[in-house]
Amino acid sequence: MTLATETFTFVADLVRKRSAIQLEPGKEYLVESRLLPLARHAGMTGVDEYVRGLRAVPRPVEYEKVVEALTTNETSWFRDASPFKALTDHVVPELIRERPVTRQLRLWSAACSTGQEAYSIIMALRDSAPELSVQITATDLSEQVLARARAGRYSQLEINRGLPAKMLVEHFTRVGIEWEVSQQIRRGVTFSRHNLLHAPPAGGPFDIVFLRNVLIYFDLATKQEVLRRVQSVVRPGGFLLLGGAETTIGVDDAWERVPVGRSSVYRLNARRAA
């Protein structure tokens, strides 16, 4: 089966406008395989027919489903390990040193997918800085991943992806074939829907923002726009943690790169932001 050119163009445009995710030509297979379940669900035999229907009669709810279906939600516990080490060994001690009276930290886990990132942060900080009160706002574009994040239940295969055994036994209980994260950990995280192309979410100003493995899907102008918005809700001297293939260098010079161990974190210039 090959996808009609106008189907691909329509879907790529829709997804770019609504999420800024770039679907380059050559990603036809992705559109086909991700939309086939939606097409079948709508009682159609193929993606071309399904999209033809969408183009004839605009249906916002169905559009959202299309956009959600084309997001990549790949994530894991303590993904890449080093950012979480940088958080506990450098970022948080640095913030505490500069603001000794602060016993509260506000974090934003942006594009949080199914929640592993936010829960990993809470678990890591409970170990490294138990005296702190930590509040995380975790957001994503996709209602589907947010529902899973809020439920806090993960399959065995998901649990196997990077969750330290010590934390599994301490913070999770088995529920049938899944594992459920404890109330205590969940209390620290608020999940809400948010599109990075829109105004920042409530819950700020933030001391630390995790914005990992999402900028890679955007073009340069969108990256700049998103980083500017993030800047507006980060405290002066606050930190930004990006994915391994992402940087602010050459994108937004309000951030200073701070090498920590094997990776880097980014710090909002106090001068600029003041």
Binding site: S155, Q156, L157, R174, G176, I177
Partner: protein, 151 residues
């Protein structure tokens, strides 16, 4: 206490799907519920593990020998031309039964113990036993039956 009502076929299917997606196929979607009318296994090979708790249960996998052969090939990363030895076939199919059985054991409210897997062309004796559950699955379109027994 007995195993009745502890496993349901939805969980059984979900566990088998995870095992195949992770270790056999490297991707989900190749092990599915059977949809195509009655399935017949004509040249059966059986693999099972027994589960000892306050009662004894058994998890039994049955498929055609040729399917088990391909299953072993997939697990061992062999290509289609390579011949699977009897020892590899027995070990690989037994290990699939072992992993499925281990994950089912974790659903018990009490700590049980799993026996080493056994593989045979003859089905194990089920005298005095009764079947608790059975799911009919299709791996790459070929039948695989998983049944759970109370011994």
């Amino acid at each position: 206490m007995s195993a009745i009502g502890i496993f349901d076929s939805v969980q059984l299917t979900a566990i088998a799907e995870e095992v195949f997606a992770a270790m056999v196929d490297g991707e989900p979607g190749l092990l599915l519920p059977w949809w195509d009318g009655p399935a017949t296994v004509t040249d059966p090979l059986h693999a099972w593990v027994d589960l000892h708790a306050s009662y004894t249960g058994r998890v039994l996998l049955t498929t055609d020998a040729a399917t088990a052969d391909d299953l072993a090939r997939a697990l061992l990363g062999m290509d289609a031309a390579e011949v699977v030895s009897e020892a590899d076939l027995v070990d690989a199919f037994g290990e699939v039964a072992n992993v499925v059985g281990g994950n089912l054991k974790a659903l018990l409210p009490e700590q049980g113990k799993l026996t080493m897997p056994l593989v045979s062309r003859q089905p194990p004796s089920h005298e005095g036993a009764f079947q608790l559950d059975e799911v009919l699955l299709a791996w790459r379109g070929r039948p695989l039956v998983i049944s759970v027994w109370n011994l």
